[in-house]
Symmetry: C2
Subunit: 327 residues, 2 copies
């Protein structure tokens, strides 16, 4: 079975999915869909159709097994995922944790009625980190959860700094506090406040004549984004920014620590170290697209999350191979 993949949205994530299709021999990219003028897109893949997103909904339903929707969670996905789930199996990476239940309900209603299968919030957090929070709680019923992020670029925090007057460019790194991580790993189950878990490093290109002290003050006191953290601000040149900070690395750690009924301690740790956040997220999206294609072929419909997917659906190998080689 070759899985026919469509990509809707052609930013960092869409380009990542496009590239990742070539690492999955059981998949084929059948179209890239955009809300921009299709002629304006310069895609990496030769010979793949680039079409208007409108073509997905007008005329005949296109021959696509799973449409991977690569768009922002703030305003795009809440509107786009239900819209396209009316006609296609879809996967998205909706990552606004607080709004997941609403998004799930909206998508489930549409997909359930249309007979399509949708999977929302795939990626690494939400996604793989979520899985490990669930697993940790199931296997260590009495314990504590810890999630640390970084070292990695937070695009939301970088954007917030860029909006400050006098800032020409900015990049924000979230950094886990190593000593806190070590305490958790040692099974000490510490109570950690925000400031004790992460620090923030900001690299700023200031406009000529800008007041650097004022910029630093505005960053470090910014409510929600920085005021509860120890933040370091570094002023650099645009050349340094382009040379040293053009990538989007990220990662982090999910830990569950607790005691078995006997009192014996157990610590589970899951971590990711990613040179490129969007490239890895793209690869995860495709593994879940594979699961969606198979579960849909079995007749499943409605909305799912990573919690609902048996691991075997994620692998291109059959169950006999998995038992022989991975179990």
């Amino acid at each position: 079975m070759t899985i026919k993949i469509g990509i809707l949205g052609y930013g960092n994530l869409g380009r990542g999915v496009e590239a990742a299709v070539h690492q999955n021999a059981d998949m084929k990219l059948v179209g890239i869909f955009t809300r921009r003028d299709p002629v304006s897109l310069h895609t990496a893949t030769q010979g793949v159709a680039v079409r208007s997103a409108d073509d997905l909904l007008s005329g005949d339903r296109l021959d696509i097994d799973v449409l991977v929707i690569c768009a922002g969670s703030a305003t795009d996905l809440p509107e786009m995922t239900p819209r396209y789930a009316r006609r296609y199996n879809v996967v998205d990476s909706f990552d606004t944790h607080a709004h997941i239940p609403d998004h799930f309900s909206a998508v489930d209603a549409v997909a359930g009625e249309a007979g399509t299968l949708a999977l929302i919030s795939a990626g690494w957090d939400p996604g793989l980190f979520s899985l490990n929070r669930l697993f940790g709680n199931a296997f260590i019923p009495e314990g504590k959860d810890y999630t640390f992020w970084g070292r990695g670029v937070s695009q939301g925090h970088s954007d917030a700094v860029r909006r400050i007057e006098g800032v020409a460019d900015a990049r924000q790194y979230t950094v886990p506090v190593e000593s806190a991580l070590e305490e958790v790993r040692a099974g000490k189950n510490p109570e950690l406040i925000t400031r004790q878990k992460h620090t923030r490093e900001v690299y700023v290109v200031a406009e000529e004549g800008a007041d650097r002290d004022a910029i630093t003050e505005e960053i470090t006191t910014m409510p929600n984004y920085f005021d509860e953290y120890d933040t370091t601000v570094h002023f650099i040149s645009q050349e340094e920014m382009d040379r040293d900070h053009s990538q989007l690395p990220h990662g982090g750690f999910v830990l569950r620590s607790g005691k078995m009924a006997s009192g014996a301690g157990s610590v589970i740790e899951y971590s990711l170290k990613l040179d490129s956040n969007p490239d890895f997220t793209s690869s995860v999206l495709l593994a879940y697209a594979r699961a969606v294609a198979r579960m849909s072929a079995e007749g499943q419909k409605g909305c799912r999350t990573v919690f609902d997917v048996a691991p075997s659906y994620l692998s291109p190998h059959d169950n006999g191979y998995l038992r022989s080689h991975y179990l």
Copy 2:
């Protein structure tokens, strides 16, 4: 729904499952079954029925949702799991990797015909480590796999040393080589031979007058068990053995390291640090017993492994709670 758990076999693992039931509010222990004389068992739980294993198969089928079979993989489980799957949903921790396909087939044939549901090879390896090998390959299609075990007690290696002439008692620890782990974590994808991944530490109580040099020589040159490793042998007193080496700690690391289509590196690491190998394994067995009870209630039958279980089945919480709290 309260899940009625039966335990078959009352060694380290059976005792661990018995204790772990009390950490799972949705479960109830309804019986401990033994192939020994039931009167000889001194159980930790007050008021739970202790019965002969024969009672499971003679007379009426007992009211048990899932029977957790706590026995050895070498000779017991290949015979016991199919036998009891004729009447009960079962979970086991069969861990002889090379024989898993045969064990699966035997159990699947019986359970499929009887209409029961069986899950084999639950635990941490096989089990959680297997899951992470599958996940790693699905999310990083082009990369390398690494599994390191320890620091922990290998009971098979300890037993092998105890069989040497002049050895009164022995405990063997498998120890991962930290520098190799660091190379893997750094994304260097090293080729590692056996000796480069683990060392072995052996603690020996020698009988009086025994030839210690001969014992050391026999250990370090023992085929399969020690000859491919750098092994250190320490002679200690029985008092030291009892004081310092009475626990069964274990754990290890599963890593997947590779490159995304763009060339960006990704490393996934999963690790366990367990004060008690059997206690943690017991807790994992119960989480999979929960899944078996639910999947059986849905009408599933036959044999399954950890690869076939959607994560949500492992948690006592409903799907809405999981989406709100863990996703």
